[in-house]
Amino acid sequence: MALRSASKTPRLLQVLNFLSLALLLAATWMVFFYAPREAVMGEVQRVFYFHVAAGWIGMVAFIAAAVAGVLYLIRPNKKWDIFSVAAVELGLVYSFVNIAAGSIWARPIWNTWWTWDPRLVTASVMELTFLAYLMLRQAIEDPERRARFGAIYAILGSLTVPLTYMSIRIWRTIHPVVIGSGDPGAKGTFAMTQPMLVTLMVSLLTFTVFGITLLWHRVRLGWQADKVEELHIKVMGM
């Protein structure tokens, strides 16, 4: 299959490498020079584009990990397990970028790095859940059982994703909802102009393409790690 690691990097992946780089440069340029300066918040509002993009793709990655978990439980096949770990790791990195970027924005706008708002709580719970997923995997030696338990925990953990997504839409919160209508008490809301929307869309596209590229690399690494583990078991078993 295409995702299985070969000795040579597949052509499409090489293209994705370059495309990711180009898009990252373009998106960064757009964030700083194309998107207008927001009237009230000033320059710090530019954090918004990557903050939203990373948050979105992070959540998508966690959901993808859970879907792979379901597929694994239906028909145990190593590829779903390898995909699941890769997606969780990607989700962890993206969600962390999301939280860190949000924190940088919150310092001048909310006048604090952190506050125990429902959105911030649910986002950090989501992050912790999938860190626990990695700990669980580390604690199990048998690869088949590790995959089974991982699949189940990823499915349970994915329940935190809709909770995080919905948190700013159901509870009272100070976190702004830029797309759609949010809590009137939110601090830092603004109306997007056309260039802002375009920049956001390009950022989303960039993070999606970059995410797919990273995921693919991570899946290839997963196959190699699997091979090493198999050899290890073979040697130890003798």
């Binding site: 626990a132 669980l136 604690a139 199990i140 059982r145 499915i155």
Partner: protein, 224 residues
């Protein structure tokens, strides 16, 4: 259906009998809860003004910590004596094992609550004898054990299992704990009922979704 329920109650009776003969688990949990409350007393300086607001939080944190002791042990002794293998040989649906274990764990945590609530009431002069609050204790404990039993079955088969259980359990448990603390403090402070419903709904939903998922997954977890 009758056979299934018989199996569930057989497991429940077995766990209660084991505990009745050793009394190790409950004794440990009870002493532990007293110690946790003692620690909270000094950590939070529970004077009259503060304690009416933090009682719910202190009690739920205590239940959550004490509960992991019970969950760890309830699966560990099955695993260590290879009793789990015997249980799995029984010609019943495996989810019956899960339900029986979960009910036993529920009774243990409720026993801890029954023990600690009067003591807390006396020590801090807070009236905890409130029907709504007791209902929240029941719902919250059920949510707790329904997921806890599943994850304990998982962690007991891994390395460093006593360490792993709380790490796996608490992130997934936070919605229950938040809802339980909110609902409890509303009942204890007698606030407007419109605030209670979102928390109660969350507790009820969790108490239905988690056991359902757990009965589906349990088979995969004990599979050899």
């Amino acid at each position: 259906m009758i056979g299934y329920l018989t199996a569930v109650f057989a497991i429940l009776r077995k766990d209660l009998a084991v505990e009745w003969r050793s009394r190790q688990l409950l004794a440990g949990m009870l002493i532990f809860t007293l110690l946790v409350i003692l620690i909270f007393n000094f950590a939070l300086e529970l004077d009259a003004r503060v304690r009416s607001e933090v009682s719910a939080g202190v009690l739920w944190a205590t239940f959550a910590f004490a509960g992991t002791l019970g969950l760890n042990r309830s699966m560990a002794f099955e695993k260590d004596g290879h009793a789990l293998d015997g249980l799995l040989l029984a010609p019943v649906d495996r989810s019956a094992i899960y339900l029986g274990k979960a009910l036993a764990n529920l009774l243990f945590i409720l026993a801890v609550a029954l023990f600690i609530l009067p003591i807390y009431s006396i020590l801090y002069n807070v009236n905890l004898l409130n029907l709504g609050f007791l209902l929240v204790v029941l719902l919250g404990s059920w949510g707790y054990v329904s997921i806890g039993t599943l994850l304990a079955t998982m962690s007991v088969q891994a390395r460093s299992r006593e360490l792993l259980l709380p790490v796996l359990l608490f992130p997934v448990l936070i919605p229950v704990l938040i809802a339980a603390v909110r609902a409890s403090s509303f009942f204890l402070q007698g606030l407007d009922s419109s605030y209670i419903w979102p928390s109660l709904n969350l507790l009820i939903a969790y108490g239905i979704i988690m056991p359902t998922l757990a009965t589906l997954f349990f088979d995969y977890i004990v599979e050899e």
